[in-house]
Subunit: 422 residues, 2 copies
């Protein structure tokens, strides 16, 4: 591995105190659970996630922030503002997928803390108090779920779901809570919905290549796409690959392939933010000398606007039906999942655009295709998100990388946003 | 099951002694290993295959045929001709795939025997002696191989392959041979290459729908297709299904799907007998929310002419390369298997056409896409094959069915063929 995370970090240019601090802190956290591939491995609720949280807590306390932990293990560090009845909140998570990267989550926590650091150095007192939050188990590696901490905070997990949780060692949620001195009751009764959040901001690596392609360090998330999953089954007639002539075949895989190869045109016909992907496919009988009789696949389709999302689902279904009509196979479609998209509020985007301009940055908009803790907060509170350029769009991988100066740019813009919000 | 094999057999119209005998013997054999789905289950080298062979041997002996068994368990029943220095040979197999049909193999053995039965009744003495052969384990269910008995007979299995044989219970080939009182040496030293075969004939159900579509009971196999297998790997870039915009994706499954959906045009451009099928596909990582980074698939392509087969392989590879060139994925192709096609000799086809005409049948030609024992015999001896209409083209399934009168038609034509061969 000639160009690992460590190599790339060594080459970073650190022009100011903020880049230097972000760089050294990112390296310190990266040592916790470093993998042999120079990646990160900090599963939610595991000791390594706790160690990373503890390190951040130590930094919080060093600038006088008061720290508390809720029933999900979420950490809140408070920096006192002029008015302590409400808070500006910013943060992300420090857990990772197995052998993941060092920026996903950590960049959001360290930038949130950097805002307080700078205010501390400047002796600046914000209008309202400011909280840096570290949500637990955002990646969901612990229970095969996702956004665990922020869903607990926003009371979006119910008893029944919790009952099903089993970690890789077979531990139940209650057993895991015991390890962090919490209980099921505390976990289920998150404070989020009633929490006096003035506005929540989250910086996250893009996990895509749009900013890289545009040559920009950071951009404004104009919505978090709502994921839909449609189960599509093509049924033809299995037959012998040798003794069945080409004419008269009813090959389910040929029809499914026609569907998949032309699917990219469907989201393009709806909007720039729409995407549709077939990632998972199952062929029956999947024998080398048998014409496939059945193909099952799942279409993952997303958009950031609910109306467009609805059009997208319809268009995907219609597309499958058209393919089946033109061939001798039949198709059935079944929508399994539809999560509401979270649009970013125009008035907040407008405030953020002003902060971009004040920092001499082009306020480009881009959708978030992936889910983030911010979308849970947005259920009850104003929310904004910034993306930071990801080199090559790589994420959930040791090769994940963002330049520290890009992360700094986002931090300074979010700082400006909070300073000017009220 | 309202219309099972038994129901269909009960409805058969039996106009003459031959249809009556074929019908009753087919029913008798069908009782050996009958499954709950009214299908057949006689694995090669299993007791049930032996029982079916024994039943045929009993019928052979009843008309004075002398019977011997070789080192592979292949059964040969001889009906004396004017000249005993050479033999006309006909036959097939009585083993089946698990829960298979009652016609695949058995139809060939019973028609071969029926020819001797009719000669016996007519007191007809053929020019040369006539042997009815029952090849062992044609389906290869015992060792996950295929054409076991006829390959042993023709010395097409070597020590090294035999070493790898393991049956579903983990038995080695040697252990299985012990059960049939044979040895590895006897198995490896088949007599086939030096056997004085004048001509070999095999009747088999079509396992396709061409005769049904043409409204004909039987047809002449004009060649046995040579199977080729090409391993094709499309490599793109895995990415997050949500955060990667549609433009700029390098989706290996979209490219593979383009390949598969347009593949049917490739064999059509080569010949009427060419076929190409993708039956097996593996997507990596096959995650519902991940753009596939790699797709591996196997193209099973066949033709009955070696030149056309070569053109087909080239065209399949070129097709894959064209798809890759037009997209942002790369492709690698690797030919894993190429079995030579076995064309039917024109002079034998011509003799068979005369037999068809003498029996007032249209001498239609059709290729065999699947392999049969006959293709092994054809390595050293003249060979002819007839197909019998398969209802719905269904095979390897309890629903497999051919009308007894269609089987009779083929038997009478093959009888005429042997009577007029010299």
């Amino acid at each position: 591995m000639t160009h690992s995370f460590t190599d790339k970090m060594n080459e970073e240019v650190l022009e100011d105190k903020t880049t230097q601090r972000l760089h050294s802190r990112l390296l310190e956290i990266s040592e916790i659970g470093r993998t042999k591939d120079d990646g990160a491995n900090r599963m939610g609720y595991a000791d390594l996630e706790l160690k990373a949280k503890d390190k951040v807590v130590k930094w919080m306390k060093a600038i006088g922030m008061s720290v508390r932990v809720d029933g999900a293990g979420n950490v809140f560090g408070r920096y006192r503002g002029k008015d302590d009845s409400k808070v500006y909140m910013a943060g992300s998570h420090v857990d990772t997928v197995p052998n993941g990267g060092h920026f996903d989550g950590v960049a959001g926590v360290l930038t949130a803390l950097e805002i307080a650091e700078l205010w501390y150095e400047e002796a600046y007192i914000p209008e309202y108090s400011y909280e840096v939050v570290i949500f637990t188990d955002e990646e969901g590696s612990r229970f095969g779920s996702s956004l665990t901490g922020s869903r607990s905070f926003m009371r979006l997990i119910e008893d029944a779901e919790l009952d099903k949780f089993r970690d890789p060692d077979g531990l139940t949620a209650d057993q895991v809570f015991e390890n962090i001195e919490s209980t099921r009751e505390e976990f289920l009764n998150g404070e989020g919905p009633d929490y006096p959040i003035r506005v929540y901001g989250e910086i996250h690596i893009e996990q895509g290549k749009q900013l890289e392609q545009k040559g920009l360090s950071t951009g404004i998330v104009n919505g978090i796409a709502g994921t839909t999953r449609t189960h599509v089954v093509f049924t033809g007639t299995a037959g012998h690959a040798g003794s069945t002539p080409m004419t008269g075949r009813s090959d389910a895989l040929v029809a499914a392939s026609e569907f998949i190869s032309t699917l990219p045109g469907v989201p393009k016909s709806i909007s720039d933010s729409a995407v549709a992907t077939v990632g998972k496919i199952e062929v029956t009988p999947n024998g080398v000398n048998v014409i496939p009789g059945k193909v099952e696949l799942i279409v993952d389709a997303r958009d950031i606007d609910e109306t467009q999302q609805g059009q997208l689902i319809q268009a995907v279904r219609k597309h499958a039906e058209n393919i089946a009509e033109q061939s001798s196979v039949s198709v059935e479609t079944d929508m399994m999942t539809r999560v509401k998209p979270i649009p970013a509020a125009p008035e907040i985007i407008s405030k953020m655009e002003t902060s971009f301009k004040r920092n001499a940055h082009l306020p480009v908009h881009l959708p978030s295709g992936a889910g983030h803790d911010a979308m849970n907060i947005a259920r009850a509170h104003p929310m904004t998100m910034l993306f930071v350029r990801s080199i090559g769009g790589i994420s959930h991988n040791p090769a994940e990388f963002s330049h520290i100066s890009d992360i700094r740019d986002a931090a300074l813009i979010l700082k400006d946003f909070f300073e000017n919000y009220d």
